[in-house]
Symmetry: C2
Subunit: 453 residues, 2 copies
């Protein structure tokens, strides 16, 4: 029975009967034996194998080059070598799959661009193995956070005829042949259909029945963006809470970020180490800071005053009524407060139709959670639960009340105050790993012109 | 601080200070007080509220009709009534959202068809509330099963240029305007792109780096099927294990099904009860049977012999080399073995290119797990890991070796035996709830002509 190397390395006692399998990272030969560093992807760490020249299978040792797959039987003994507790004394060794000389991962130090071109092989490298183990751990932590708090997971639809943000940058989904492409009523769904940009509106329908829900699924933007922060396909986490106001919304958002970061620190120690070594020397310090310090909260109006009084030269203007730009957000969280900061109550003109109008008649209950190094990581709001105000908003934002009748129904029938937010999952991963390009935290990134694999 | 009714009902002691909120299920008035059955969706069960006519807020009691939202403060006391441990004595009651008389869920006993037309409101009914709480619990159980066994969760891409099954029934994804719809090189991804039918091939690349992985995400089929078992958008669970053969694959599949069914039985008792009452009287018995009994395993060849000797009249012919039809699968698992049954080693002609050829040269290492009442719930295989055999399969199945070069690379560089399977998540939910139509276990189902909400 094969053991994962992850478990072998954390054993508390030696054993005479061990079986492992994995890929050779490096091999060193002497006359009488070879050292093999074996990795099976269950951990960043390798298991060191000592293979005597006289054991069965050793005759193929020359084929056990970097990238080759092997299985090994033998015993686990305390290692005399520094930096490792255990090593394996092989009693037999077997070549499973050799590697020809053109194996692209022979040498270290490939560029991220090159590794993206071999996205099917890059999880075999230390850094990408770590990034994708962290991604898995963070995804599970998202589920744990919400499930342990009695949130119900809802799979909102991917194909939709609605456009939550009104942004318009959507992918069309169709089965029509090219020569009949305009015949919407003959299409699969008998109307134009798109890939969702958010599960929020559908999520609200479930919160208005089951109280606390969350979505976690892929969302899509057809923006022709070539930045390091944008992908056409990415995963979003969107909780929605009935009987919840803006303050409650901010509480959940902040608690969640602390939970997720703590989970990375506690659970992915080795993987974070490699990110710290090769990507961001201050990574751990930054993450620990987030877990320990309380988050700052400030209204948009106050934030604008601080920015205006900052004496900083910004590329984009700061003025009440304008959106905060990334540079402004980063100044607030990195320079001024030096901690994660939630900005709330934005002018209604710059926010979508579904946000609740405040008593002042000027601002809506929006909130953005900003973190150092990234800027906005979460955006949310209390939703407009008043039927008449929502219908007014439809008019104002030129939204077809017919098409969104189901959404308005939530306000017509037993409406409740409710609130929610969206977390861009890849933004979280970039924050937690320090990795600067969104293409390097997604297994097979989709961006303009790129749909390989 | 508001409490979820789920937690109120499982309290071990009374309290003088309680706050709840939810939607009125029913109300009965007498002169001096009213009884309200309150539900907040956290549980199937209602909390009974006793509201004296003299408490603050009672003046709006007439508006607290079925479907209205209210919040209540008061104390929790042992209930003198049968069938409930607790009831709430209100000290104040507040109407949050009234309901006009056209509220569609006033009366009981709506048809599933009608409820599908108000999919934004149906989670407020007992049965659909239960179904979607079970869906959430099962999704979390999928993650727990794999994460506790050190499988790494991989988000395989939704938009793809590959076609895993070679089935061809795919949705196209495009941003081209209608009048330029054929200009693939000008499209967003600079080539034709589609919605994925399976994450398997991409999942294999990660298993060949990280050992044990799983995917859990939406998949799409553009089949013009109008059956109760097909949807255009559904969620799939696809584990993939390196250093694993067909027997190991069957082990994991069977262990997973037992784990998930046990989780439903242990964790969603009330919700299962309502399914049992209104959908399938034998539900619990069937599920307990699955947890307790070992599963049957039989080769395709043996299964065909049994079917031929059965004396049954089937609609479709039974013959070596033909696919097993649903009626055959159900006879095996419901009539003959009377337990879940895994059929393995199918003729290579009826299976896809990626399955491993057996020593006999005639069959491939496919396996289908069949369950009573549903038929196939899982399909999997050991994958062809031999480079030359895979290239032969490409030829035979007319697959462009250029386009799948990355997939072949896994066999070229350190190939390993590996295996995996796919679980249709909605099939599992239909099995666990007894609900017969796939449209009723998906929040907002997508089928031909249907893309509402």
């Amino acid at each position: 029975m094969r053991s994962l190397i992850k478990h072998v390395l954390t054993r508390t006692e030696a054993t005479d009967s061990l079986e492992v399998a994995g890929w050779v990272r490096t091999r060193r030969d002497s006359k009488a034996f070879s050292f093999i560093e074996l990795n099976d992807g269950s951990s960043l760490l390798n298991l060191q194998i000592v293979a005597d020249a006289n054991i069965p299978g050793y005759e193929e040792i020359h084929k056990m080059a970097t990238g080759a797959s092997i299985s090994v039987k033998g015993r686990l003994i305390a290692s005399p070598a520094k930096g490792q507790d255990w090593e394996m004394q092989a009693s037999s060794i077997k070549l499973l799959g050799a590697v020809p000389e053109d194996y692209p991962l022979q040498k270290k130090g490939h560029s991220p661009e090159f590794l993206r071109s071999i996205a099917h092989l890059r999880p075999r490298t230390n850094l990408f193995g770590a990034a994708f183990r962290i991604r898995s751990r963070m995804a599970y932590a998202v589920h744990r956070f919400f499930q342990e708090r009695d949130f119900i997971y809802v799979h909102t639809p991917i194909v939709t005829a609605s456009d939550c943000e009104g942004a318009g940058e959507m992918f069309r989904v169709t089965t029509l042949p090219d020569d009949k492409i305009s015949r919407d009523s003959e299409d699969f769904f008998e109307k134009r259909a798109y890939l969702t940009v958010s599960g929020q509106l559908e999520g609200e329908t479930f919160a208005c029945a089951l109280s606390n829900i969350y979505t976690f699924g892929p969302t899509f933007r057809a923006e022709n963006s070539h930045t390091s922060r944008h992908a056409a396909e990415f995963w979003m986490v969107e909780p929605e809470m009935a009987f919840c106001d803006l303050a409650g919304d901010m509480d959940v958002a902040e608690e969640m970020i602390k939970f997720l970061v703590k989970e990375a620190l506690d659970g992915q120690d080795h993987d974070l180490s490699i990110c710290e070594k090769f990507v961001d020397k201050t990574l751990r310090q930054r993450l620990e800071h987030v877990v320990e310090k309380p988050f700052q909260r400030i209204s948009y109006t106050e934030a604008v005053k601080l920015l205006e009084a900052s004496g900083q030269k910004f590329q984009y203007p700061v003025k009440y009524g304008l959106n905060l730009q990334s540079e402004h957000e980063r100044w607030l969280t990195e320079e001024y407060f030096k901690q994660p900061t939630t900005v709330y109550n934005y002018p209604k003109e710059i926010k979508p139709f579904y946000m609740r109008l405040n008593e002042d008649g000027k601002t809506v209950t929006a909130m953005d959670l900003l973190v150092p190094g990234i800027g906005e990581i979460i955006g949310g709001s209390q939703r407009e639960e008043r039927y008449d105000v929502l219908l007014e908003n439809f008019k104002h934002h030129k939204i077809d009340p017919e098409a969104y009748g189901w959404y308005a129904d939530l306000r017509k029938y037993g409406t409740v105050p409710h609130a929610g937010f969206g977390l861009g999952f890849e933004r979280l991963l970039m924050f937690v790993t320090g990795i600067q390009n969104i293409r390097d935290v997604i297994p097979f990134p989709r961006t303009p012109g790129h749909c390989e694999f």
